[in-house]
């Protein structure tokens, strides 16, 4: 025995590895519009809800992904961004389908996401928990409704983090009205993917689940192939 450590028993420290994933989901009013898919016309927010639920179902059924994933959900809609779920394992998430409504506070949502990530990293450091590079999916179907400087400052902070190797951003524009140029400001390394076909939207989440299970760049490689 040495101090508090008994070398003949089981380990007490957390020797696992986490993969922090933050999904910034657009739930503004425009998400209640219909778009085309192979199944006919569907509502964007319904598609998003289904994809999220399917993502969680896949993660729960994959033992590695379930152990690794540390998921945060931010709702970008209404007047202010909402923390739908702070960082936790997928098992602890009780996802209630989102309803569309209100404005698109994209800048504030990203700032909130970055603040939560910062707190999470401090927690990892204090607990000695190793982690893979965090992934942040930033999704929007239209123009942010904030003052330009708010969006710009958030984009600057976000892209700084990407450039200093602290973050991987997955920028997704949904539908024809998505502002790809604005989303590109948040993502200096990965070009924004515009999704107009809902089948591709489903595929995005499938690829994301693979990345979350294998802690690799599958979803980013797929995105690059698509653009």
């Amino acid at each position: 025995m040495d101090g508090n450590f008994d070398f003949f028993s089981k380990p007490t420290m957390n020797g696992g590895i986490k993969l922090p994933v933050c999904l910034i989901l657009d739930k503004s009013g425009s998400m209640s519009e219909r778009v085309r898919s192979s199944r006919g016309m569907v509502v964007k927010i319904d598609e998003l809800n289904n994809n999220i639920q399917e993502l969680f179902r896949t993660i729960r059924n994959d033992s590695n992904a379930r152990l690794m994933s540390d998921v945060c959900l931010i709702g970008c809609g209404g007047e202010h961004p909402e923390v739908i779920n702070g960082y936790s394992s997928v098992d602890k998430i009780n996802f209630v389908p989102l309803t569309a409504g209100g404005r698109t506070p994209l800048g504030a949502s990203v700032e909130l996401a970055l603040d939560l990530l910062q707190k999470r990293r401090e927690y990892y450091r204090s607990a000695g928990i190793e982690h893979y590079k965090p992934i942040m999916m930033i999704m929007s179907d239209g123009q942010p409704t904030e003052v330009e400087s708010v969006v710009y400052n958030a984009a600057q902070r976000c892209s700084d983090m990407v450039n200093t190797e602290g973050l991987k951003v997955l920028p997704i524009g949904i539908g024809d009205s998505a502002r790809l140029d604005i989303l590109d400001m948040f993502s200096p390394k990965v070009k924004t993917k515009c999704i107009t076909n809902m089948d591709v939207f489903v595929k995005l989440f499938e690829m994301l689940s693979v990345s979350m299970s294998q802690s690799d760049n599958t979803v980013f490689d797929w995105l690059n192939d698509q653009v």
Partner: protein, 459 residues
Amino acid sequence: MEISVSKNNYIFIEDTVFVYPNFYLLLKKYIETVEANGQKLTVFVDSGIGERIEKYKADLKFKEAYLLEGLIDILEQKGLLQKIETNSYLDYTLLEAEFAKSKKDAKCSIITQRDGVYNVFKELNNSCKNLTFYQVTDSGFEEWLDQAQLTTPKDAFYLQDDEYVNRIDTTGIDYVYSPKYGYLKLNISSQMNGGEGSVYRTYNNMMVKIFKKENITYVNFKKLSEMIEMNLYNPFICWPRDLVYVGDVFVGYVMDEVKGAETLLSLRLQSFSEYTHPERFEICYNFLKHIKYLHDKGILIGDLKPDNILVKSPSEVYFIDCGCYQINDYACPVCHPEYTKRVFKKDELKKQLRTVEDEYYPINKMAFEIMIMKNHTYSPDNMDIENTDKSQFFYPLDVDGIDIKSEDMALWAKFLTASMRKYFYYYFKQGKITDLSEWVKELQLFLEKIKKEINSNGR
């Protein structure tokens, strides 16, 4: 051949040389020559030679132990011996200083039987111009020729355009034929997808790997055929047992199934919570032992990563996905960036053979992760595993009086032996490889000691 003598002679002898059959006769003749000519001689040995003698005794190799002890005694009595710290042959700085003191007409020699030691010490050639390396063979001393094999990648057998095999779309196959085992039905519900293809459960406690269309190649066909010929008996290596066909098209191969085991990755994600510290070290011992078994046969794993190692119990560690290992001049076409030191471009993997040196990166990295349960680049300020600087290593060599705040540091400083610390430190900081045989021996003795302690404490 004989070692040439001069007015001042400095010779460093690595311990396995002493126990080489009839080396004592060569040494006797050399000393007699020097004495007859009235010349000076200093024989350097690693200061840990006492431990070596004890290791031989612990291994029940008494003949070697007493021979080594006897020769060291004789050199000491003759006033020729000087012990010098080399940290298990990983650090030549003190020896370099001694050689530097020698005069211009002095003759410096290093005698070793081990590739690893030669590769570390050969850098002394830069500072010491009259230095020669020797090894002992049945015909006496032989000069070491520079062993470039370890580091120069060779070309693999590779075909750019492959028209030799038919290819079919392998989705939806439910039956295959194996010449050895007959018709095998694939259990579709057991399907597991990987990079090269999918794996299914079948009869006879076996699994079938079916390649994706683009991976049905002549190279794969030839490689697997040769692997099957090798017929490895080791049950812990899930070696290809036979090729499988659909009609007359080669589509994959069959191997034994391992049931009731978890991958090392899964165990790591669970912080190895089901195993005690000694049990985890036993897992590491078996892990390294099986790699040594493969290396002794000239087989390199290539894609060594935690996902490809299954653990059923501390004494049952299995290696799976063996069909893509590197044998002869057939390359291993896949790699995981986190467990590879060299950066490979996509086709490079197929065209170039990997070296044993390449393999030591994942070996050391995974051994560290199993034993200390942290990435080797871990430090209290650096939690990000995807830190691209793979050469960072924050655990100190000298652990006297350090502040132990966490379990990983406690394991490093108090549970690992001094040798293990040296092996890791010199590898991660300076790229100096310690042979697997040393690791396996060290862990074997360590586990025996632990078992004795456990039994005597009635735990």
